[in-house]
Amino acid sequence: MGDVKLAIIVQKPQYKGETSRLGITHAISYQTVEILLADGDTVTPKLCFMGEGVLGIQKGQNAMDLYGITSTETHVKNTLLVDLDVLVCKEDLAKYGIPEDAMPDAEDMGADKKIQVVPFSEIQKAIDESKHVLFF
């Protein structure tokens, strides 16, 4: 069957419900899905943040000290460490006044990938090119 592409779209803000975090962790689980698939089969997600989903991913979060939970920032860094493509909607960052350089990166942890701030058209393209789309 080969590779199945997924578009995982986070459109809700973080730190109320766990939905947004689960979108990220489900995307990361592409790393281990092969143990349940036939040889050569893979799942390739693109993790996209849009709408209010762009609100809670900026750097400088302090979730561990305040609530004892892993921050969304850390989860996002982990996505980069496992070579996921992470797209953040440029128009929505601008709408909410969030500068692009507020996006976290994981270069100091050895990640090759960086967050891609892109126009919504690129997120639409990810949806078009995927076999399934999952809105979190």
């Binding site: 849009m50 709408g51 639409q124 949806i127 399934h132 789309v133 999952l134 809105f135």
Partner: protein, 98 residues
């Protein structure tokens, strides 16, 4: 792309739906989303109904809210769960829940 979108709320999902593009867009109104099909605001029907001609509303969710199929905007086709299954498999390449 043939995309079927489930709308389950009255207000919250409008922004995302406004942005999604598809060659063939279907909107399936379920849960509180059925109010888009039955309820006018200040005498005006929901603008969501202008987005596509492929509009569906779940009968069970209409009836549980004390309304009848006859309360539904004429542009919307009333369907049951079995019909929804057929829509998912036969009318769309992929489906999304907003």
């Amino acid at each position: 792309m043939k995309l079927g979108v489930f709308v389950s709320d009255f207000k919250l999902t409008a922004d995302t739906l406004d942005r999604l593009k598809a060659d063939n867009l279907g909107i399936i109104l379920v849960l509180n989303g059925i109010y888009h099909a039955t309820t006018k605001e200040n005498g005006k029907a929901s603008s969501l109904l202008d987005k596509t001609s492929n509009l569906y509303a779940l009968s069970e969710d209409i009836q549980i809210r004390g309304m009848k199929d006859s309360d539904v905007d004429k542009r919307v086709k009333v369907v049951n769960y079995g019909d929804v299954v057929d829509l998912i498999f036969n009318e769309f390449d992929k489906v999304a829940w907003l």
